[in-house]
């Protein structure tokens, strides 16, 4: 390495040191605690196989995350498709509809959903005043409420990777297929859909891993009855002071995310997914 080259390495140093000391170290400690408290060994991990409540939380989380991913992909696909085919003018409006929710505080969004969905909320009030229902529907503080809020949060994340894949599709291919006599449905199924598949998978992975560790929305809209992993961890640490169990689940969360990424890393270019400039 030349002397000039060394200068560039010095530029990297502050960020790397900050991340190692104030990011990696605390997380490494979480991994360590899961093996050392309350007593050294794999005791906490045995709970994965023996404790019914641990298993229930994991199953609930997986179920909610899978449903969220599927719904966010379906809705996001329709939006990405509409954006791809829209005129440039309409496209910027569509993009606004995707980006505005993405930027607005997750707390504001959860609050808006509570306002709409609770027992005396606007949806129930409206339905009652129209005489469509006689009792308020249980729309929030249950799994349904969590799903409404999570899908709402995740759709923009589903749209963006699919959109970038769809924009790379050569429009002449679609025109050619039409010209050769394919119906609109055939063009979609046999040309457009296969070509946008990498984007769909990238979106699915992104939404799934973001959903797994989601805390605020499930905590507010679940009302403490339907527990997902993140809220369960917080409960173990803050209320029950069971560091061993809490950190074990946190470790499992990281493992689940890394495994998902590893499985799909052949199909998905991670760096591109997070927009790290090629």
């Amino acid at each position: 390495m030349t002397r000039t080259g060394l200068g560039w390495w010095v530029l990297i140093l502050p960020a790397v040191l900050l991340l190692l000391v104030f990011y990696i170290a605390p997380i490494a400690q979480v991994l360590a605690i899961s093996f050392s408290e309350p007593e050294p060994g794999f005791g906490n991990y045995e709970r994965l196989f023996t404790s019914e409540s641990v298993q229930r939380v994991i199953l609930t989380t997986l179920r909610i995350c899978l449903i969220t991913t599927v719904l966010a992909l379906l809705l996001g696909f329709a939006v990405a498709y509409a954006i791809t085919l829209a005129s440039p003018r309409a496209r910027s409006w569509w993009m606004l509809a995707v980006l505005v929710p993405l930027w607005i505080s997750v707390l504001v969004r959860a609050f808006a959903w509570v306002t709409l969905l609770r027992r005396q909320g606007l949806v129930n009030d409206t339905l009652m005043s129209w005489g469509l229902i006689s009792e308020p529907l249980p729309l929030v503080w249950n799994e349904f409420g969590i799903l409404v809020g999570m899908v709402h949060y995740m759709v923009p994340f589903a749209v963006l990777p699919m959109l970038s894949a769809m924009r790379e599709i050569d429009p002449r291919l679609l025109a050619a297929a039409r010209g050769l006599g394919a119906s609109r449905g055939q063009v979609f199924r046999q040309v457009f859909l296969p070509l946008s598949m990498p984007g769909v998978i990238a979106s699915g992975v992104l939404v799934f891993i973001f959903s797994l560790g989601f805390y605020i929305t499930p905590a507010i809209l679940g009302g403490g009855k339907t527990l997902m992993v993140a809220e369960w961890i917080s409960l173990q640490i803050l209320d029950l002071i069971r560091w061993g169990l809490g950190t074990m689940m946190a470790t499992m969360l990281i493992v689940a995310i890394l495994v998902t990424l590893a499985v799909f890393s052949r199909v998905v270019d991670l760096r591109r997914m997070f927009g790290a400039g090629g």
Partner: protein, 263 residues
């Protein structure tokens, strides 16, 4: 792609419904904030600004807004400084040797903040950083670095490295090259990264739930307590103010990008 092949009615319908699902529920906070009632409801007899007045004259809310703002500014300075230098370093050093650093930079985006938050809770205790301004700034600043690295790396991708080599060969030192050649060219990327880092800290709740309690009581923390304890229209007023502020930042970012693309 317009004109050659259009979406079918079913596709368009789902897209429209999704767009409304994304945007409309957020707008509901506006009429609720303007209600003349004492409880969460639509305005009954007229609109009233008293819930905004409640928030804007409350020492608690103003204190939290100020605290969140100062924390976010400090965290942004930290993230932008470290992130920009890192992105420039990675850009000049060969790709292969900085691969590990790039992976490191992705971790805060992938690992859920709950995991980091419980880690910090334990880690900050012995360091005396719990419930301290500095502790929250460090947590928000460090997790903000990746956003800056990404936006600055993107800006650098469009920068001709020969300019930097020319400057160096004409005798400019590293700091002179940075100051006069590289930084002015990537300024839009830096500002964009700063906006991301600021919003990241401004909105962050999970970490502060664990590492702050009394002394540091940020705006998201106060909203969180409000949602869990008393759902009143003042919450909606706060939400409207937040939405307005966020939209300003978003429009600023878009204007910046447009100017960069045009220039």
């Amino acid at each position: 792609m317009h004109g050659t092949y259009g979406a079918g009615p079913a596709g368009r319908g789902v897209a429209w419904i999704t767009a409304m699902y994304l945007v409309l529920p957020i707008l509901i906070v506006i009429p609720v904030a303007l209600t003349d009632q004492r409880y969460l409801s639509l305005p009954q007899e007229g609109i009233s600004f008293r819930h905004f007045a409640t928030v804007l004259t409350s020492e608690e809310w103003l204190g939290s807004i100020w605290q969140s703002f100062t924390i976010a500014v400090a965290a942004t300075v930290l993230a932008v400084t470290a992130g920009t230098l890192c992105a420039i370093g990675c850009w000049r050093i060969s790709r292969r040797s900085t691969d590990l650093i790039r992976v490191l930079m992705l971790l805060p985006l992938i690992i859920p903040s709950i995991v980091y938050a419980i880690g910090l809770y334990r880690y900050f205790g012995p360091l005396g950083l719990l419930d301290r301004f500095l502790g929250v700034v460090l947590a928000h600043g460090v997790t903000g670095i990746p956003y800056v690295v990404i936006t600055v790396s993107t800006a650098l991708a469009g920068f001709d490295p020969r300019l930097e080599q020319a400057a160096r060969s004409m005798g400019a030192s590293l700091s002179q090259t940075l100051r006069w050649v590289i930084l002015p060219r990537i300024m839009p990327g830096i500002v964009s990264g700063a906006i991301f880092a600021f919003v990241h800290s401004w909105d962050e709740l999970v970490m502060v739930l664990f590492i702050a309690s009394r002394e540091v009581f940020t705006l998201p923390r106060r909203i969180w307590d409000g949602i869990n304890e008393n759902l009143d229209p003042a919450m909606a007023a706060v939400a409207v103010l937040l939405v307005g502020f966020t939209l300003l930042l978003l429009l600023g970012d878009r204007a910046l990008r447009r100017r960069t693309e045009a220039g």
